[in-house]
């Protein structure tokens, strides 16, 4: 546990409302005398209880106003159904960086993680589990070192996991790509993994259709897509299509059937072709943008479309 973070965030007092959380923090931080405060939503701290959830999202915004940089410290404590602890690596923040500390499971099954990040606007914190764990977050505290933050819980509306299909031929294209996807279990959030599995099954189920492509579906481009998503857990799982050259394409729309779409063609391990079109506003007229860039430069190009792709 990084005591420096706790001291800097000036944690105070203790709320009687979340004794389990307070106890967990004390046990896991080794700071038995540290006075923590957990108060209700609407102040700078929040406590909530979410059970049997695979992924969830917290939204945080600076009370100091949009565009003003402010640092906040974050602490989460929780347990997981089935006796498995959730790890600090399952936390992500959609901008800046978050340094996580802790994550070790204590003797009675609670895990506490703490981190620090800087935000300048509305930001999101994603809490996810890696299957087969199911998350129970008992409480969350956010502590502003330089100001107050508002914190709310959002439900990304996750679908039920797809049951295994025993009828899939083990030598089929679908089976091969499902095996690749399976190797990413533990690096992708459960909700993302499940949706990709469903999308794969619809995309690759017809071998005759695949045979008419100029090239067979390329595992390297699929792995490039998975790698991209694993590094950015705040991004929604996309719908999947293929180019005639067997390149995997990830597609996002701001809303189902909206006349706007962002498509990423994962050309290889390093390059991506992106194209975005938005024809929703008839008065303003349609907009189009796109190009080929390195994966490392892609986030900057996609900045205007964050709302389309983030959970």
């Amino acid at each position: 546990m990084n005591a420096h973070l706790v001291e800097r965030s000036m944690v105070r007092a203790t709320s009687p409302g979340t004794p389990q959380l307070c106890d967990a923090f004390r046990r896991n931080t080794g700071m038995a005398d540290a006075p923590y405060q957990f108060v209700c939503q609407g102040t700078n701290l929040v406590a909530f209880n979410e059970t049997a959830r695979t992924d969830c999202r917290l939204s945080v915004s600076s009370a100091q106003g949009m565009g003003r940089a402010a640092q906040f410290n974050l602490a989460l404590a929780g347990t997981a159904i089935g006796g498995k602890a959730w790890a600090g690596s399952s936390l992500a923040i959609s901008s800046g960086s978050i340094q996580l500390n802790g994550g070790a499971r204590d003797p009675i099954g609670w895990t506490t993680v703490m981190g620090s990040a800087v935000t300048t606007a509305l930001d999101h914190i994603y809490i996810g589990t890696f299957a087969p764990e199911t998350l129970t977050v008992e409480a969350c505290a956010i502590l502003g070192a330089f100001g107050q933050f508002n914190l709310t819980l959002a439900d990304p509306t996750l679908a039920d996991p797809m049951p295994a299909d025993a009828s899939v031929d083990e030598t089929s294209t679908l089976a091969r790509f499902r095996k690749i996807l399976e190797t990413w279990r533990g690096r992708l959030f459960t909700g993302t993994l499940d949706r990709l599995d469903r999308q794969l099954s619809h995309l690759l189920e017809d071998e005759e259709d695949l045979a008419e492509l100029s090239r067979t579906p390329d595992p390297r481009t699929f792995e490039a897509l998975l790698s991209y998503l694993a590094a950015r857990p705040w991004i929604k799982a996309p719908s999947l299509t293929l180019t005639r050259d067997g390149i995997f394409v990830a597609n996002w729309r701001p809303a189902r059937e909206a006349k706007a779409r962002l498509s990423l063609d994962f050309l290889d391990e390093r390059r991506v072709r992106w194209s975005a079109a938005d024809a929703r506003d008839e008065r303003k007229g349609p907009t189009m943008a796109g190009g080929v860039c390195s994966l490392s430069d892609l986030d900057e190009h996609l900045r205007p479309y964050r709302g389309w792709i983030c959970l």
């Binding site: 619809h202 995309l203 017809d206 259709d209 008419e212 100029s214 005639r244 072709r273 189009m288 943008a289």
Partner: protein, 143 residues
């Protein structure tokens, strides 16, 4: 009306069908098609993107079905394939928005008299193809 000739422009208010592979169809999590992607327009033929003019079959009781039957007579159509319906005027307008002149010309071929071509669209026009795909009027199933 006079019988259109090869090279005649297809009127703006008319529609064309594009035969789409299942791999270019965007689906929701239940497998229900919700649109086509830019790759529905990818075509290696230098003459243009193959489409079929629906109103060419206006004398038929069901022009859309007649156009689909004409496509099926010349191409292998699979269960998961779909026929994407587009308005000609919107295709040309999207081209103008991207400063890429697009036209739709009648190009009859044996067994498909309504066969036509979208001219001016190249495979490297990814953004424009993405834009065109959003103007989908309807998505029809094979017979």
């Amino acid at each position: 009306m006079d019988l259109p000739l090869k090279g005649d422009p297809v009127p703006d208010e008319h529609h064309v069908l594009r035969h789409c592979s299942g791999t270019a169809i965007e689906k929701d999590d239940t497998g229900e098609p919700i649109g086509v992607t830019k790759d529905a327009f990818a075509d290696d033929d230098p003459e243009g993107v193959f489409v079929t003019w629906i109103e060419y079959f206006a004398q038929s009781a069901d022009p859309e079905r007649a156009a689909i039957n004409a496509i099926c007579a010349t191409r292998t159509v699979r269960r998961k394939n779909r026929f994407a319906k587009f308005n000609v005027g919107l295709i040309k307008a999207a081209g103008r928005d991207a400063d890429v002149p697009l036209g739709v010309e009648h190009d009859p071929i044996p067994r498909n008299d309504g066969h036509s071509l979208i001219k001016g669209l190249a495979n490297d026009h990814a953004e424009l193809m993405n834009r065109l795909a959003l103007d989908l009027v309807g998505l029809l199933s094979p017979p």
